[in-house]
Subunit: 389 residues, 2 copies
């Protein structure tokens, strides 16, 4: 029997009504003679509420206990969804990350999946049950409860798809497809039926919130067919898969960025970069200075990391200008290697008095750093000129 | 090193400030060179909130999934308390019921503890850590998460005290001792330093909310020294222990009781009583009819149980009068066998026009059924006349 893994994120299970809607969808799917594994996140805001309780107690909560706390979130969703399925007469069973056999390393708060011993899931699937799994969480070989960090539930779903040999991994979210740009900013943005792993990965890194980059990496590595779909319409979405030649052109963006400039000896850059959490920022080097680009919400954490890093003690000067930045990244056939494209891109922006602070060619795409206030205008200009044609 | 088990109920951990206060107490206790295991309940109202979410989905939630849902409650408390202890520099570690090795049968929602394989707790205690355990929950031999039902956390604490060979089990609550009557009703009620297991068990059955009867039974059976204490003052409370001759006289009461009268053949009583949940009610038989005394909040569930019981199909007539009742139970040296006492008790009540609907001699105490509106007056009359002297 064909096995499908379906993942529902926090906004998809935010209320009891949303949970009931998903149970209805699953009840219909189950009639299709499919094996189904459902991965759920915590209900929207639950994780934030739990974190804020922890922060009331400790500014830097103990990582092992914080994981124990946060995993209550998915536990609540998974059991509520299972209750809703039982109410519809669908035999289902919910499992924690630990019960699902999602084995991780011991890095609390940012654990990596080592393997999945999914024998309990398989047993229940064989009995014809729909299995619900708590996303975002696992258990270490030391039997400690761990969480996978940002994008954890997407990663759980892709990893389960891999170890269960699923024919597809469906990621349900609040958008219905991968678009050529954020449709809230670009009204004429178009959706795609297919996109390649490489491009999806690039868009994920560059700020498209549709899929988490870790999950795309995992899917890419093991060739898991992933579909991005809407948990509101359940219609056909975008397939992320191997494609020899993708015609997709798309824009991702990040907003509310800050730049930290570090003046120090160039030979110290690599030791510094190794000692701080690299998932929080991107960087470039210009005129012997190191520039870290970081989202506003991570600024404090990153500054603390830099100041506390042994390698930098007393060696550096850290500057922070008062400006807010944004980045735009464009991916598409030959974008990165087409000098004509790059020239006309810069022409269009400068003719609208939009300053480009930094341009980076990432091989598969091109990213620009500009002022926060120019973001919407620049995305629309670029989309109109280079994507829609 | 001496081992103490300390249990904190829902009102004791209701807020972040309460959790911090308890962490402070524990930090001081830890300096005394004690081994400490702390058992916590869910924060007050959390369990009710989770149940109401489940009820929004299903009027009769699937028992296995409801247990999965509810166990999120203690998980939140235990990790928050552990975070608070780490903040104070106390090395602590929190364990779920499953991690603690609390093995139960498979009766979801009302599981019984079979054994405790507390090797992880022991390992951590040996490292000098303070161990926090989620009360109310366990794991079955089939590896399913279970909950222990009413009074579950008290029972967890007493069972852990037994299997860990603790020198004392301290039950922290919102009163500071066992009193001769509810101090909210009887202003002159006195507190006791000691009470016997038998009397405590009687009071627990008869409505004293201080300790759960299951926990007292367990403590009695294995001779666990239990102390009832206040989580607000942390002062010396009441020791529940073996006493040859207890001088304690005390009153327990229940309010908002309803009476279900069942007319049926007397030989059906025992099969009926076996088929319904006996922890929800007490009963007596009068003039060939069966009378079930039940708290108002369980009335609907009990009626449904009776109507659905196979044994009673079509055989019985069920009557419910519109009245609200209350019960008063008195325990103390020879109370139950002293006819003079019983006579003067009834005299006092009748001289105040208080009707006694039923009187029951339970061996260790005497219980009376009277009208809800007479409760406060009757308790004060009895306390004033027979307990204070």
């Amino acid at each position: 029997m064909q096995l499908i893994v379906k993942k529902f994120g926090g906004t998809s299970v935010a209320t009891i009504d949303r949970i009931k809607a998903i149970a209805n969808h699953l009840a219909k799917e189950k009639q299709k003679d499919l094996s189904i594994v459902v991965v759920v996140s915590a209900m929207a805001k639950t994780t934030d509420q739990l974190i804020s309780l922890a922060k009331e107690i400790s500014p830097k909560p103990h990582a092992r206990e914080l994981d124990m706390l946060l995993t209550a979130g998915e536990r609540i969703t998974m059991s509520l969804l299972s209750l809703a399925l039982h109410e519809l007469g669908v035999q289902s069973i919910s499992f924690t990350g630990s019960q699902s056999g999602i084995i991780t390393d011991t890095i609390h708060g940012n654990a990596r999946i080592q393997t999945v011993n999914a024998f309990r899931i398989k047993e229940e699937l064989e009995k014809g049950k729909l299995v619900i799994v708590a996303g975002f969480q696992g258990v270490s070989l030391e039997k400690e409860i761990t969480t996978l960090g940002r994008g954890g539930s997407d990663t759980s779903a892709v990893a389960l798809s891999c170890y269960l040999n699923a024919s597809k991994c469906e990621i349900y979210t609040d958008v219905d497809a991968v678009y050529s740009a954020d449709p809230r900013i670009v009204k004429t943005a178009v959706s795609y039926k297919h996109i390649s792993y490489e491009q999806m990965l690039y868009l994920a890194y560059q700020g498209s919130g549709v899929l988490q980059s870790r999950a795309v990496e995992f899917a890419y590595k093991y060739h898991i067919a992933v579909e991005v779909k809407s948990s509101f319409t359940f219609k056909e979405g975008t397939m992320v898969e191997n494609m020899e030649c993708s015609k997709v052109k798309a824009i991702a963006h990040k907003d509310n960025l800050r730049i930290i400039e570090i003046k120090c000896l160039e030979e110290d850059f690599s030791t510094l970069l190794k000692s701080i959490k690299t998932e929080l920022f991107t960087y470039f080097i210009y005129q012997s200075n190191l520039f870290l680009i970081v989202e506003d919400k991570y600024l404090e954490a990153l500054q603390a990391d830099i100041i506390n890093s042994k390698e930098m003690q007393g060696k550096s000067e850290i500057l922070l200008d008062g400006k807010s930045y944004a980045s735009i990244a464009i991916t598409g056939f030959r974008v990165a290697y087409d000098n004509d494209f790059i020239t006309s891109l810069l022409d269009v922006l400068s003719s609208h008095s939009i300053t480009v602070y930094h341009l980076n060619n990432d091989g598969i795409g091109l990213s620009l750093l500009l002022g926060h206030h120019n973001l919407n205008e620049a995305i629309n200009l670029i989309h109109n000129r280079f994507i829609e044609v």
